[in-house]
Every structure is written in structure tokens, then in C-alpha cells.
Amino acid sequence: MRHTIAILLENEAGALSRVAGLFSARGYNIESLTVAPTDEVSVSRLTLVTTGNDEIVEQITKQLNKLVDVIKLVELDSTEDIERELLLARVKAGSAGQRSEVKRLVDIFRGRILDVYEGGYIVELTGRGSKIDAFLEALETAQIGEVVRSGVTGIARGPKGLRI
């Protein structure tokens, strides 16, 4: 099972390596990890996607909470809550037919073309990870020149947020 955990972390040197180190030391998986400062400069926010059964994920959240630099965390509900990922991709499209097909796909997935070069486009797309997967699957393998995914970030719905 895939789980998304949002974490508020002290913006201290080495704090991130404590989180990453915990996962490698205890043999937990990290599917993706995003980090950036928040409006409060002393605090970073992480979104971590991991896989495991409920017991493992319960241990993961307990172990994360035990890290002195972790201020707070919450597990996001992947069906209810809002998750977004950014894709930047170099898509090869040599022939006129390919070019119009790529533009059509980008429209369908509500993406944008950021740059045009001879032989292809740089495409931007945001959405749930599954949407990005679907877009990439819709392209022919040979067309994919480069894939840059940001990893998942997420926020809970409704008035209750994760703040210090």
C-alpha cells in the first residue's frame, strides 16, 4: 500500500539526513521525497511517499515522530486529500503528425508547452502522480527524451491544516 506523509521539520543542518537515514537504517522504502522551506523560515515541509502495510507505516510514523527535529506530521489520505506532482518532460516529435499528436495530448492532460525546439517540445504538467503516469504512457516510448518529476507534494482538504 502506498502512503503519503506530510512532515514539518526543523530547518536545521542535517535534519533531512536524519529522515533519509531512518528509512535506510530500518529498511523502509521511499518512493518520493520533496522538501522546501515554509512561510516560517525555521520550518521545512516534507512530503514523503512510502509503501508498506499498515503496521509498517504505523512504525514509520512513530519512528519519524521520535526524531528530535520532527515537529509534527500527518498521514494524508490519498483518496481524499490533495496531492500534486509536477512533470517537466522533453518530448520528441519529429514529424508534423507527431507534433500535432503531442499538442493534442498536452491539451487533454491540461499541460503546457514551455519550449519548442526543432524536433520536439518541453512540456509541463501538474496533477496526481497517476495522471502523470497516464500522460507518459500515452506517449510512444521513443518520444520520451527526458523526464523530470518533482515528487509528490500534498495538502489536506478542509480548514484543518498542518501548522506549528
Binding site: G14, R18, K62, N65, V68, V70
Partner: protein
């Protein structure tokens, strides 16, 4: 007044009430050592190897319940300390290790004696700090002591670059500190405690299983009161011995891999289990799928991540063991009417039948010294009141099984990491804290050689501990596993070219004795303990073939113990 970073370290330690530091100097900490030179309030004990410094600070902490302090230099000083830090981490021992670091400007340049101390220690500390600015030094040290001793205790490393120890700033001592991201559990949830009490009151085959958390949480009195109120049998982990009196009839002995029949069978058959400050370690549970098949489990622990980590529990109680047990005592006293000893009469009869097997009995001998007999004689010679440290191996298990600890903080061993070399330096730390008490290191001829250099420290600082070496000429525990699991193929487990321990002890300025005859054991111990102010190294030449029983082998459960041949015949 403005102080240098080095002066701040020393002044802070005084203000924090630290009375002694175990350390070893080097380039990166020379400013700090210079600050030590100018004062006499804090004793500095110069060890002979940084591992010894950390183990000594650890022994001091385990015996006193106060954080121990070690001071080491950068690079090799810090890496030598790592085994000690990991040892303390695995057993949740409160400790602060101060390490020197190369100057800030050199960090990252592969400078002379530079290692990434924070990176190397990260997986084996509760927390660590690199102090980048002298203005943060005092508050960082305060946080370090607070973190080390609060919540689930553990070692904290403070890495201080050399320039930070030279820079000056205004110093003042903060009495308290708050860390917003750190809020250890205090009282337990009353509703959960109530549920636990009700489950206990209905039990017919109950068992109490207590661990090192009770010792660390200073809740021995409370544990004893709860156990007496309930009238239930109680077992203990290796780390918890002494928290409940070992000679009390309610105590059924240690459980786990080398636990007693009554403890392990009791675990297997019990219907309600109260786990207190214990973590369901693999050496305790045996094969998990066979662990406590009939029990409903209540678990008290300060660390939420210990709960349901290995074994799912029905009633978790997260909190400091002392207030939780205090509340439990109040609830039990209010429910005195429901405390019915007839409910467990059958169960006690069963426990006593197991006890009657006397699973710890061993074949005695008049020709060769039995190691178990030495521990029993040691108990007599010290009236069961000594602080006993140990190393790792068979001798450790025999000390745990045959020295009945009646008080907490008296049994000091590396249970989690299993570090050979721990015993002697730890004993020195204990002796420093309790100079008037008997302190004994029970060791093997292999383990003792891993930190033997500390015999020199013992001489310099007049720390006359007693060393009881159970010399079986083998890496005994390794040999035992090879006998049982590798058809007696004793691969590299025989110790040849052993030193003459008498001469070795004497060369360090101590007294050495060798005891070869079973009839001489008691007299030798008496003679050694009569030399109050001398370190006596007692080399007992013991039966090389003796094994530790009972034993639960890999993949086996509590009900599948292997007993000693002497026991099988009885």
C-alpha cells in the same frame, strides 16, 4: 563576563552539576583541556582508549541514573568512541559525549583528524549537534543534557569545532530548556490504565514481564508495589534484573534465550501479560509466531515506537513508567475487593511445578571449577549487594542467572549491543560514583582483553574494582553455538597464547590471583574482597566445556527450551 568556548564547556559542566568527565585529549580539544587545567571542581579521568571513556561514563550513568559525560578529540578519538556510543544507545543510557572537531574553516576539506562526527554517530545517538557558533554553545549543551536524560534516555553527541572553543561570548547558565519539536510522554492515559487494571483483575494465569525501562525510569519501588498487590508471578529481561528483588518468591527468574523454565513456560501459557518498560526484543521473545499464544497483552512504555513494534498489544499505555505505575497502584488499592488470590492459586501451583524442575541446577565438581559455582560464591562473598558489571558471553549469562539482584542499578551489562570490552571500564565508572561499594567485573578471558588497558586507569585514579575472570580458554559463547549448531566444529573460538593474568595485573600495579581448585573459590574471593583498596584480578580456571542452560535455540519458542544434561537426568 565573556568566556571562551572552552571555558564555557567547563563552566557549563559545573553549573549542570557534572562531577566527573571521562576523556582523552587531542589537538581539537586542547583549548577545552586547558580550561580543565585551571579548575578542580570537576574531576577528569584520563582513560587509555576512548572506548573506555564512553563505557566508563556509561557505567557511571547506569549505576547513578544521572547522565554520564565523555570527552574525546576529533577524528580517531571520535571513531574510537563510536562502539561506546552505540552500546549506550541500544540500552537507552543517558550520556553526553563531547567531541572536538577541526576548525570550522577546515570542515569538509579532509583536514588532519577530520571525520564527519555527526554523520558517523547519527544512527546510534538519540540526537547530535554540530556547534557552529560559540553563541549557541551553552544552549546546545543544555539541550544535550536535557535530551539525554528525558523521555526514553539515550546518548547525545555535541561536536565542537576548535575555533568555537577559542571564540568568546557572554555566558549564562539556563536552568531549563524547551525544544518545540520534542515533547516526551509523561503521565499515561487514565482510561487505558483503568482498562489494564480491569484486565489484570480478571486474569487466571497472569504474568508480569519487566524490563530495563523500569530501572531507567527509577520505578523499581512502584513495580514492586504493583507486583505485591497483584500477587502475580514476575519475570524480568536481562536489562531489568534487580528492579524487582531477585530473591523474592514471586520472582520466577529471567526470561528469554537463557531464561528459566518457570519464566518461559509461564510466558507461553499465560492468559494476561503485563509488560513494563520492556521492548519484546528477539532474545526475549524467541520465535515471534510462537510468542505468548494465549495472552492478552498490556504494555507500558515511554516510547510509542516500542509499542506493537514486534508484538501486537491490546492495551498500550504510553507514558513514564513511574507515574503510570503510581496511578495503577491507586486504582488497584481502590479495587482491593476484586484482588482475589484464589483466582491464581491453580496457576501458582503450575508455576511451582515448573520451578521444582530446578532448571538452573548444574553438575557440580570437585575437580574442576564450575563457572556457575563461582558466581554463586561471589554472591555469598558480597552478600548479594555488589555492583556487578559484565562483558559479553557465557559469563554474562551465568552472572545474570546466578547472582540474584535484589536492587536496581546493580547489574550493569551491555544487553542490546552485546559489546565485549564493556565490563572493566564500566566498572571503573561505577566505582567512581560509589567508591565505598563493592564493584565487581565478571568477565571472560577474551572479553577482558578488549579493554584491558583500563587497568592502568584504575591504578592512576585509585579505582579498586574486583575482576572475576571466568577463564575457559574459549570464546565460550561462540564455542557453545558451534557445539549445538555446527556439530562441534570449533572454528577459531579457542584462545591460545593467553597472557599470564597474574603478571599482567601485577605489571599494572594490581594484585593478581589464579584459582584452579573448586575448594579454593570461596577463600580466594574472601581474600580478594578483604583487600579493600586494591584492584584484584582473579583468574578462575573453569570447566572449558560448560554450557549455558536452559537455551532457546533459533526458530524455537518459549515452550521449546533445551535443558542441561544434569537437568535432563534429574
Amino acid at each position: 563576563m565573556k568566556l571562551t568556548g572552552a571555558e564555557i564547556v567547563v563552566q557549563f559542566l559545573k553549573d549542570e552539576g557534572v562531577e566527573c568527565v571521562f576523556g582523552y585529549p587531542g589537538g581539537a580539544v586542547l583549548h577545552i583541556y586547558d580550561a580543565f587545567y585551571a579548575q578542580e571542581e570537576i574531576e577528569h579521568i584520563l582513560v587509555r582508549h576512548e572506548q573506555g571513556a564512553v563505557h566508563a561514563a556509561d557505567g557511571y550513568a547506569r549505576a547513578t541514573g544521572k547522565p554520564g559525560t565523555a570527552l574525546v578529540t576529533s577524528g580517531p578519538g571520535m571513531t574510537n568512541a563510536v562502539t561506546g556510543i552505540a552500546t549506550a544507545y541500544m540500552d537507552s543510557i543517558p550520556m553526553v559525549v563531547i567531541s572536538g572537531q577541526v576548525s570550522s574553516a577546515l570542515i569538509g576539506n579532509d583536514a588532519f583528524q577530520e571525520v564527519d562526527a555527526v554523520g558517523i554517530s547519527r544512527p546510534c545517538v538519540k540526537h547530535n549537534f554540530l556547534v557552529k557558533d560559540v553563541a549557541d554553545l551553552a544552549s546546545t549543551l543544555k539541550k544535550a543534557y536535557y535530551l539525554a536524560a528525558s523521555g526514553r534516555p539515550g546518548p547525545v553527541l555535541v561536536d565542537i569545532p576548535k575555533d568555537v572553543t577559542a571564540n568568546k561570548t557572554e555566558y549564562y547558565y539556563q536552568e531549563t530548556v524547551k525544544i518545540r519539536s520534542y515533547n516526551p510522554a509523561e503521565k499515561g492515559h487514565s482510561g487505558q490504565i483503568k482498562k489494564g487494571v480491569e484486565l489484570l483483575l480478571g486474569a487466571r494465569k497472569p504474568m508480569i514481564y519487566s524490563g530495563g525501562g523500569v530501572v531507567l525510569g527509577k520505578a523499581s519501588e512502584q513495580l514492586t508495589a504493583v507486583t505485591r498487590l497483584l500477587g502475580f508471578p514476575i519475570t524480568s529481561t536481562l536489562m531489568g534484573l534487580g528492579a524487582f528483588p531477585g530473591s523474592d518468591p514471586q520472582f520466577v527468574g529471567m526470561l528469554g534465550m537463557h531464561g528459566t523454565m518457570e519464566a518461559n513456560m509461564g510466558m507461553h501459557d499465560c492468559d494476561v501479560l503485563l509488560a513494563v518498560g520492556a521492548r519484546f526484543d528477539d532474545r526475549v521473545t524467541g520465535e515471534l509466531s510462537k510468542f505468548c499464544p494465549h495472552a492478552r497483552i498490556i504494555h507500558i512504555d515511554i516510547d510509542p515506537s516500542s509499542i506493537s513494534k514486534n508484538v501486537r498489544v491490546e492495551i498500550p499505555i504510553v507514558g513514564h513508567v513511574k507515574p503510570v505505575l503510581d496511578e495503577m497502584i491507586r486504582m488497584l488499592e481502590a479495587r482491593k475487593d476484586a484482588l482475589d488470590p484464589t483466582k491464581t492459586r491453580e496457576w501458582w501451583a503450575q508455576i511451582n511445578r515448573w520451578r521444582d524442575h530446578r532448571c538452573l541446577q548444574y553438575a557440580t565438581s570437585s575437580e574442576v571449577i564450575k563457572p556457575q559455582a563461582v558466581v554463586e560464591a561471589l554472591w555469598r562473598a558480597t552478600r548479594g549487594e555488589a555492583f556487578v558489571t559484565s562483558d559479553v558471553g557465557q559469563h554474562q549469562m551465568w552472572a545474570a542467572q546466578y547472582y540474584r539482584f535484589d536492587q536496581p542499578n546493580r547489574w550493569i551489562n551491555s544487553g542490546g549491543l552485546g559489546t565485549m570490552g564493556f565490563g572493566l571500564p564500566a566498572a571503573l565508572g561505577v566505582k567512581r560514583a560509589f567508591p565505598d561499594s563493592e564493584v565487581v567485573c565478571v568477565t571472560g578471558e577474551a572479553s577482558i582483553q578488549m579493554c584491558i588497558q583500563e587497568l592502568s586507569t584504575a591504578k592512576q585514579y585509585d579505582l579498586p574494582v574486583k575482576v572475576v575472570c571466568l577463564n575457559n580458554r574459549y570464546l565460550g559463547m561462540v564455542r557453545q553455538w558451534q557445539e549445538f549448531s555446527y556439530k562441534s566444529r570449533y572454528s577459531h573460538s579457542y584462545m591460545e597464547a593467553l597472557p599470564d593474568f597474574i603478571k599482567l595485573a601485577e605489571s599494572y600495579g594490581h594484585v593478581g590471583m589464579q584459582i584452579t581448585q573448586p575448594g579454593d573459590v570461596d577463600a580466594a574471593l574472601e581474600e580478594a574482597f578483604a583487600m579493600k583498596d586494591r584492584l584484584v584480578f582473579m583468574d578462575f580456571i573453569t570447566d572449558a566445556t560448560e554450557n549455558v542452560y536452559p537455551m532457546i535455540e533459533a526458530g524455537k519458542g518459549h515452550a521449546e527450551m533445551r535443558y542441561s544434561p544434569a537437568q535432563e537426568m534429574a
